[in-house]
């Protein structure tokens, strides 16, 4: 499994340019007829390899929709999204699912851990979906959990964990499959400031690799410091692109 | 996950309990074997009948010649009697008295013959003497003539006296014969099957039940009743076997004797003669050798008779086909085919 992933990466590195995700002219509207509300109005965005990109903006600015389109969960009405040289639009639903499984990692605002599984088992889920045996998957998940500082709570159920701990399990789950692209949707929104800060720090610490990219959707300005670039969105369009911590320092 | 284990074991237990209960409770009780083997047809193709064992000569229902008081019964049930053996005695005192009177009337009659004989001889002598006298004057012709008449009369008297004796003897013989009749005797050899009279009882001439039932139990026969529906399937000469009720491991081979030409209403086994009968039966008489085990007159038997047009003898078939596979369908075809 690892080997196959590595091979993929090597092939991709050889063939493709610096950017990992490129969105061009993406539009998306919800509803029909009179009630049709345009959410994305032609978004162009590139995400480079090795980059942590923050997608910020007020509620309803379309940042989560953009994230969903990039993840292949929502289809864009128009425009193209290319990830790792693959055009998402060309995929069948099954291929999209498989693509997500093999190349993407997710962190959600509500964690979405399975309540009946232990921390280690939750973190192992992406590997289990790929068909890795339970024993091996859990062993790998435990390793990753240790790197995010959850080595002591491997057998705990999510209900016994604090929000921060749950989100760390979610980070482990997102990272266990070694995805090329990590997508985080408001990872700090349900956490207090201090924990949120630490969590995003961990996302950056563990997710930032030279050949990978991280996209974090947030409206929490306190974590802007973790972004290499900060993309401001408003009313369905890219409003402004800032460079990372330097811009603040 | 502990929970899973508990529910899993509960489910397994429930299923096992159900299977065990079903296995125990729903096992179809096997039919108990017949207590005695039932009568089984020796051949697949037979006509079955119910039969009764009876004496070859139909039983004799002994009745008195006249009504009268029974004084002595000489026999008990199961006695073997020869022809002429006395069975019972009716009251004969009256006839015996008559006999004595009649007997006593014989000597006077005989004496009267002797008397007439002497008288005849006397008058014959007198006549001879008168005729010997040649002198017509000494003896008148008239005297001779009268004497001759006297002789003739004496001759007739003697004849009448003889006839009187004959009559008296005959009368005595008649009484004797009547007397003899009061002793009821066996009309033929046989066994006493039933005695329904005791000394002191009054025997009626036209009683419904016989006083004594005499039968010949040495040579027996079977009377088989066949439902008239099955009657066409039996031809004269068909072989048959019989089984005693409840004793079916040994069969009694039967030989055909005759078919009663008249179809009779079936007598019901309940013996209730108020019953109306709607079944009529063909009766076939079969003879058989007395088997090694005891059989009795009146015993019921199950009879299996070979069907008409079924060829070889029954015993051959029972040898070759007993326990064999299903009968040839062509043979068990429709009834019209089989009725010849």
């Amino acid at each position: 499994m690892d080997k196959r992933l590595d091979q993929n990466i090597q092939v991709l590195e050889g063939e493709f340019p610096q950017w990992l995700v490129r969105a061009t002219g993406v539009t998306k509207a919800f509803g029909e007829g009179h009630t049709k509300i345009p959410v994305l109005k032609g978004v162009d965005l590139e995400v480079a390899r090795g980059e942590v990109l923050l997608l910020v903006g007020p509620s309803g600015s379309g940042k989560t929709t953009l994230l969903s389109v990039i993840a292949g969960i929502l289809d864009a009405d128009d425009g193209d999204v290319t990830i790792l040289g693959e055009t998402i639009r060309d995929f069948s639903p099954a291929e999209k699912t498989r693509f997500r499984r093999d190349h993407l990692g997710f962190i959600f605002q509500q964690y979405h851990l399975l309540p009946t599984l232990t921390a280690a088992e939750n973190a192992a889920v992406p590997l289990l979906i790929r068909g890795v045996s339970k024993q091996e998957a859990v062993a790998r998940a435990e390793e990753v959990l240790r790197t995010v500082g959850m080595g002591g709570r491997l057998a705990a159920l999510p209900t016994k964990l604090s929000g921060g701990e749950q989100q760390r399990v979610a980070i482990a789950r997102a990272l266990v499959g070694e995805p090329q692209l990590l997508l985080c949707d408001e990872p700090t929104a349900s956490l207090d400031a201090e924990t949120g800060h630490r969590i995003v720090g961990q996302i950056r610490e563990n997710g930032k690799k030279p050949d990978r990219a991280v996209i974090i959707v947030t409206h929490d300005s306190r974590i802007f410091e973790f972004g290499d670039r900060i993309v401001h969105m408003d009313d369905g369009q890219v409003h402004q692109i800032q460079q990372g911590p330097e811009a603040f320092n | 996950m502990v929970f899973r284990r508990i529910s899993f074991w509960l489910a397994l237990g429930g299923v096992l309990l159900t299977i065990a209960t079903l296995w125990g409770g729903n096992k179809k009780a096997m039919a108990p074997p017949p207590a005695e083997p039932p009568p089984i047809s020796p051949s697949p193709v037979t006509v079955a009948a119910s039969g009764i064992i009876e004496a070859v000569n139909e039983n004799v229902r002994i009745a008195p010649p006249v009504s009268g008081l029974v004084t002595t019964v000489y026999v008990v049930v199961a006695d073997r009697v020869k022809k002429g053996d006395p069975l019972f005695q009716l009251d004969d005192r009256e006839l015996r008295a008559q006999l004595r009177t009649k007997t006593d009337s014989l000597p006077p009659a005989a004496a009267r013959i002797a008397e007439q004989d002497i008288h005849l001889k006397d008058v014959q002598d007198q006549l001879r003497r008168l005729q010997a006298v040649k002198d017509r004057r000494a003896v008148s012709q008239d005297d001779v003539q009268r004497k001759w008449h006297e002789v003739e009369a004496a001759k007739r008297s003697l004849i009448r006296a003889r006839a009187d004796l004959q009559l008296a003897q005959t009368q005595r013989d008649e009484v004797e014969a009547l007397l003899h009749r009061l002793t009821v005797r066996a009309p033929r050899d046989g066994t006493i099957l039933q005695v329904d009279i005791r000394a002191g009882e009054y025997a009626m001439v036209n009683a419904l039940d016989p006083l004594i039932l005499l039968g010949d139990t040495e040579t027996l026969q079977v009377r088989a009743d066949i439902d008239e529906v099955n009657a066409p399937q039996v031809v004269p000469g068909s072989a048959a076997v019989a089984y005693l009720k409840g004793y079916t491991d040994k069969s009694i081979p039967l030989t055909f004797d005759r078919i009663e030409p008249y179809i009779v209403p079936k007598r019901s086994l309940t013996g209730d003669n108020r019953e109306r009968v709607d079944t009529r039966v063909l009766q076939i008489i079969y003879q058989f050798e007395r088997p090694s085990f005891p059989v009795y007159v009146g015993q019921q038997v199950d009879v299996f008779i070979e069907r008409s047009g079924e060829g070889s003898s029954m015993r051959d078939r029972s040898m070759s086909e007993h326990g064999a596979s299903s009968p040839d369908p062509s043979r068990s075809g429709s009834q019209p085919e089989e009725v010849r």
């Binding site: 605002q109 979405h112 | 509960l10 079944t279 429709s334």
Partner: protein
Amino acid sequence: MNFVALKMLFGDRAKYLMLLAGLTFSTMLIVQQGSIFWGLMTWSMSGITNVNAPIWVTDPNINQVEEIKPLADTAVTRVRSVPGVKWAVPLYKGVQRARLRDGNFEQIALVGIDPSTLIGRPHTIMEGKIEDLRAPEAVAVDQLGVERLGGPDKVFVGATFEINDHRARIVAIVKTQKSFQNFPFVYMTYERALSITPAERRKLSYVLVSPMEGVPTEQLVRRIRKETGLGAYTEEQFGWKTIGWILKNTGIGVNFGTTVLLGFVVGMAIAGQTFYLFTVENLKQFGALKAIGASTGMLARMILLQSFTVGVIGYGVGVGLATLFGLTVGSGGRLPFKETWPLLVGVFVALLMICSLSSVISIRKLAKLEPAVVFRG
């Protein structure tokens, strides 16, 4: 992912309990109702099953076993004359009145069996010897008779009572299957039964027949019908004929059919709905899995695994409870309760089908589920 599916199922104790309870209850309801129905039918057939003969011959227009249309005596020999008949013996059946020593009357089902072979006698003899039936005045009574005629104190081997003003001496206590009319069975010999029952033109109720080895029962039945013009049935045919008559001519068919059907529908609705609710409640979890990359097929397999697992377990527990009910409440034949394989298998299949159906509905919902719900939420 099977492991994940099972953990989802078993992990939430409350939901699992509810789900299991729903399935258990519906299984129990259906099995219990069905078993009582079948028990009643077994009672109605008891007149046949107690006698246990392969072929029954009687009037061609008979409807059911308790409806006696007597034959002429010669029917026995006529049937014996049919090729392929191994044996044929007479049987008397009729409802008579027994008078107890205390003067009370009790209806009894009188059975007269062939005295020499005793064919038609009950299978289980609890006390005494059935062979003693051949003795004068001898009868055998069943366990219900013991109860009805005054209890074990008054009814024992050697005790006497009266049937139609004739003395009856008990020589055996036997075990029988209860009958629909709930009259106790009393056995005596055929001839004795004829002699103590009121005069009738014909008295032979049935001729019991066995085929020769190698002769198929059905074939012989057809042949007996053709050759004698009498009605002949295999034990099974006669049983079904009786059941059919009872279903058609008494309210039992409609009443119980409705009850069983309602039990079935209600049970299945509960089972289906509980499981559907279970998946709907877990929809968010499935959505997360879908977003992470689980295909719809994989999720469908998980749901099917869950529904079959809980279905099988619920079935097992439900059937076990129904059996326990039968063993306790229905013990001693007080309640017509009889489970049968077809019922159990049928309920199992129906339950799995309902589980599949609710799974399919859940899966359809899942297939339409936009994994986008996992963002925000």
